[in-house]
């Protein structure tokens, strides 16, 4: 138990080792998982069987490099734009097109949800009635599988002519709104009691107390809930593409891959979704770091 701080110790070696271990296990698992397929029924020799297992066309478990190649092939290896009667549009054969469809719904929904969430949190902090009547419902809503509502939103909005981006954004907004409200209410009320008293000795008005004390105190909570929200928002956009057989988007790719048994397509869509999630989180983290640095917070 040394006094010297060890928490800065690099986690690179363990993480790299575990990741490498996972990849190795994945490669090894390809043979037993795919063993029932016809191509392997008569094959002899372990090396031969593995070589076949790693290059199957419709595998039960694709090998890592198959997924990587498919990802490469369907993004960089395919034309991004194509010429149509309406001019140059994104090529639906390219996975990035689907990624963009899902991403746009995610971002729009996230921004709307965030603004609504922050707005409602501010209202709740300043109104006792709202705090006591609405907050319990918002907290209770966390226990409900809200995602089950996605199909009905698609249909309801479709019946008034809204399709495509808007219903998915509504779902994403709805999902991302709750964590932000809860997080911001917690954050805006997290100001130290002594500091609130100090503001009162200055006879500071409520807006001033808000901008100078409550809002800065709430920022850590804001960023924590933004990270949760943006992940949920992405899930919402993907699930929003499922019920009505949408043609575009990562969720649609997952669904069609599932219907037609195109395993590698499913995996590459899944990996693309994971990459999107990682990028979105990195973006929020970056904004967080820049904001905290501008506020003089510890790096």
């Amino acid at each position: 138990m040394r006094m010297a701080n060890r928490s800065g110790e690099s986690a690179f070696v363990p993480v790299a080792t575990i990741t490498a271990l996972i990849v190795v296990i994945w490669y090894l698992a390809c043979l037993p998982m795919n063993a029932d397929l016809p191509q392997l029924k008569d094959a002899q020799g372990l090396g031969n069987r593995y070589a076949i297992a790693w290059a199957l066309e419709r595998p039960v478990l694709p090998s890592p490099h198959q997924v990587v190649f498919e990802l490469y092939h369907s993004t960089i290896g395919t034309r991004l734009f194509r010429q149509t009667a309406d001019g140059m549009v994104l090529n639906p054969r390219n996975l990035l097109f689907h990624a963009w469809v899902t991403l746009s719904a995610t971002l729009v929904g996230f921004l709307i949800g965030a603004m609504l969430g922050i707005g409602l949190a501010i209202a709740i902090i300043h109104s006792r009635v709202l705090q006591k009547s609405l907050m319990p419902w918002i907290i209770a809503s966390q226990t409900i599988p809200i995602l089950a509502i996605a199909p009905i939103i698609i249909v309801a909005l479709g019946s008034v002519g809204l399709t495509g981006l808007i219903p998915k954004s509504v779902i994403s907004a709805y999902l991302s709104f709750f964590p932000i409200t809860i997080g911001m209410v917690k954050g805006l009320s997290s100001a130290d009691a002594m500091q609130l008293d100090l503001m009162r000795t200055y006879n500071a008005s409520r807006p001033v107390t808000f901008t100078k004390l409550r809002w800065p105190a709430a920022l850590p909570f804001l960023f924590a809930s933004l990270k949760v929200s943006i992940s949920i928002s992405l899930v919402g956009a993907i699930v929003g593409e499922l019920p009505t057989g949408a043609q575009a988007g990562l969720g649609a790719r997952l669904l069609s891959g599932s219907y037609y048994g195109q395993t590698v397509q499913i995996w590459s869509a899944l990996f693309m979704a994971a990459i999107l999630a990682a990028l979105l989180l990195a973006l929020v983290s970056l904004v967080e770091r820049l904001t905290l640095r501008a506020m003089g917070g510890r790096p």
Binding site: M1, R2, M3, A4, G8
Partner: protein, 261 residues
């Protein structure tokens, strides 16, 4: 190694390697403690008093020098359950009652259930907490919690008691009372006690010998015999003998640059 010594420390040094460079927590400390003594370590923060206590407890390892506790290495003493440790904070487990907290070491050491309960009751009574056995830590005041912590350290009857500023977080009035109780306990049980403090009156009141330490690097600069008699009450703090020793302690701290910054 001289036999019969409760603790023997020779040329003990401990250097921590931190990101900002080496920290000389202890430099060539020398001390011999006879059984039954009440020794205080006093000094400002950074003088190494807590570090020295932790080395005795085998919670830190020295970089050089030697130390024996009851004739064996600190590690053997720890594994042999030869000391009880009282921390700066009560460190009671909040999901256990006072009684269950006192029984914790007894459970680890494998005492029977009947034995555990009997000892827990006895030692809680010894620290004047009879009747509070079923209370949870948060239902007790700070002073009471610290007393439970002391009862816990006593329950398996170690010969050596190590106490790290146990009353530091309490107000002076409670502190006075606990000092009296501790002294009475020590008189009854005659354990060897090593007591870390940064309060001069407390050190002089409680100890048979006072070890004055100073920081940067941590070292022992004076060892003062505190011979103001055995039967001590709080009034003794205003006698000239008491004040003379307190003065000597203060001079020692000043010489060790404790008041510089």
């Amino acid at each position: 190694m001289t036999t019969g010594m409760a603790i023997e420390i020779r040329d003990l040094s401990l250097t921590f390697q931190t990101a900002d460079g080496p920290v000389y927590a202890l430099e060539k400390a020398n001390l011999a403690v006879r059984p039954g003594e009440f020794i205080s370590f006093i000094g400002p923060s950074g003088c190494g008093k807590t570090t020295l206590l932790r080395v005795i407890a085998d919670l830190e390892k020295p970089t050089s020098g030697s130390i024996t506790v009851n004739g064996v290495t600190p590690e053997a003493a720890r594994l042999g359950r030869q000391y009880g440790y009282v921390f700066q904070a009560p460190a009671l487990y909040p999901w256990r009652t006072a009684e269950a907290n006192v029984m914790l070491p007894l459970e680890v050491f494998g005492y029977s259930k009947a034995e555990r309960q009997e000892r827990a009751r006895r030692y809680l009574a010894m620290v004047n907490l009879a009747g509070f056995e079923k209370k949870y830590p948060w239902q007790l005041s700070g002073g009471m919690q610290q007393r439970v912590s002391i009862a816990r350290a006593l329950s398996f009857e170690p010969a050596l008691l190590l106490m790290d500023e146990p009353f530091g977080a309490l107000d002076e009035i409670v502190r006075d009372r606990l000092n009296e109780q501790l002294l009475r306990l020590w008189a009854e049980t005659r354990k060897t006690v090593i007591f870390v403090t940064h309060s001069i009156p407390e050190a002089v009141f409680l100890s048979t010998r006072i070890v004055v330490m100073s920081p940067r690097p941590g070292r022992i600069i004076d060892v003062i015999d505190c011979d103001i008699g055995d039967r001590r009450t709080l009034d003794i703090r205003e006698t000239p003998e008491f004040l003379k020793i307190a003065h000597r302690v203060r001079e020692g701290l000043r010489a060790g640059h404790s008041y510089d910054d």
